[in-house]
Symmetry: C2
């Protein structure tokens, strides 16, 4: 089963989610719909997909699951909008970043609208455990973003600190999407935790792969410039690995490059060639692979089913995309 097969299998569920997303963007303020549509248009819908697979696996892919799948995508989109302001991004998903078109003002405020709309609509479901999960994930994400900011440009960041950041900013919401499917299916605690754990692990792997692609992808496929994280002072695992596996004079040169206001092509080439030599990308991907294996293992509490196969396929996709 490939990821294309998976999207095909859940096509009707995802169409229901799209309708819900459109519904949610209706507001007195027309700009909300415009910006929302622009940004929401480019998404792969991985989080809604995971929520719907999880809900199907747990026997309740009803309107509440569809609603929460849309809300999870709203929260994800809000975080992208605010990220773009924070990073002063030029491109997002191969298009101009929203802040580049509508300015920081609209981008901040529409992000706020999407966050608050998602939480308000979640409240309407009157399901305490769902609310607990989604509001905790949202808080964790924002804490992760602040932690990341605090570590910006810090060449002494440890692998442990890096993991803490990606768990908070990326994995928590994916985990919540998977958990909500189980909660809506009224699964026992053990199965809720299994799906939440699966989501955490593929979330970790997802960000690890993303961060590695920033050094290894082809720029036309990535939809943004290579070495973007380096330029923004975001120290991700490939670079952390490289610093830890460099001779003192190499490490000193890398630290200098990190602390420069803007790196030139030569700086990036130096780092890329050293990364190839020290196999830093392979190290980061290896970590991602072990999370994917663990994620799959967590599903052993569920009997074999097409939905379980779909979760396996998503896990494989996370690691295989564009590498």
């Amino acid at each position: 089963m490939t990821i294309t097969d998976v999207f095909e299998s859940y096509k009707s569920d995802l169409l229901r989610v799209e309708t819900q997303i459109q519904e949610g963007l209706k507001s007195r303020a027309v700009l909300i719909g415009q910006v929302g549509n622009y940004l929401l248009g480019g998404g792969k819908r991985i989080r809604p997909l995971l929520l719907m697979i999880s809900a199907n696996l747990c026997g309740n892919p009803g309107p509440q699951a569809v609603n929460m799948a849309a809300m999870v995508e709203f929260i994800h989109t809000a975080s992208l909008l605010h990220d773009d302001v924070v990073d002063d991004a030029k491109m997002r998903r191969g298009k101009d970043a929203a802040n580049n078109i509508w300015g920081n003002q609209a981008t901040v405020l529409i992000g706020d609208f999407l966050y608050s709309k998602a939480l308000h609509d979640s409240v309407k479901l009157e399901n305490q455990a769902v609310l607990e999960s989604i509001s905790f994930a949202t808080q964790t994400m924002s804490e992760g973003e602040v932690l990341q900011l605090l570590k910006t440009g810090d060449p002494d960041i440890t692998e442990e600190e890096y993991m803490e950041i990606i768990e908070a900013k990326t994995a928590a919401l994916i985990s919540s999407a998977c958990r909500i499917g189980a909660v809506l299916g009224a699964m026992p605690r053990e199965k809720q935790e299994a799906l939440a754990g699966y989501g955490m692990d593929i979330g970790r792997a997802f960000q690890l792969v993303d961060d590695t692609l920033d050094y290894t992808a082809r720029e036309d496929k990535l939809g943004k410039a290579l070495g973007k994280d380096l330029g923004e002072g975001k120290l991700t695992l490939p670079l952390i690995h490289l610093i830890g596996n460099s001779a003192p004079e190499e490490a000193a040169k890398i630290r200098n490059i990190i602390q420069e206001q803007s790196q030139d092509r030569e700086d990036l080439e130096y780092i890329l060639s050293l990364m190839r030599e020290r196999r830093s990308a392979e190290y980061a991907v290896g970590r991602a692979e072990s999370f994917i294996e663990r994620a799959k293992g967590r599903l052993s509490v569920f009997p074999a089913s097409p939905h379980k196969d779909a979760l396996y396929a998503v896990a494989d996709y996370v690691i295989e995309r564009e590498m």
Copy 2:
């Protein structure tokens, strides 16, 4: 009873709120506490005060009320942080604006943290009606901010549109603070609505007075420059009134001033002197006064009590401060 007496009467309640605020600012990310403390330090705590008076009036000023009073202040503070980024503010409450010290990045992200923390902590209370109220208010606020942005620099904004904006961006949260006191006291619907309506009306008056002070206050008392709204293209009631009560050539000049990139002292003086002549500030304050009267009238469903007196005193304070 003056506002000072009111703050004195609810001193112990407000101290409990302060403790809760400090508790809420604890995070793995130390910056959150720093920025939070800096900004939260300058607030008058009008919203927590209203929630605690309302909770006392309705017989349940317990830990849940204290918790929600802190959360309402978090949401208010988050909106100030994002406002400062949106307005590119230099000053706030007589101090440097947060974005001027920590940059837009931290300001956006810590605003997100305060929002999401407040909603997550509210979820923990497991009170559906409280959650409904606070999450609706938060969504309404963000919608109001977008509406305001859409009307920036538009000299054709109507009084009705202006009222819609201030109801959403300011009055909704104050109304929610008052309603939550009634909900926690398990009051019948009629009394919940009375307090929510009281909050809406004093919220409307509060913003009307604020917007008028921007043209009439002494700069040293205002803690920011006079005519700030004009400079930001925010058309508030005094200016809307003035445009509607000007001769064609005056109106044309005012429109030109509004559309300039930056107004000089002479532009401001022109508008101020015309406002004095046409009594535009008096008009806006008159509107505020009528909301204050209506707010007080709504409390008739409650028997006389010191808590009701306190709500009257807060209403009077809203209109009397610094005018």
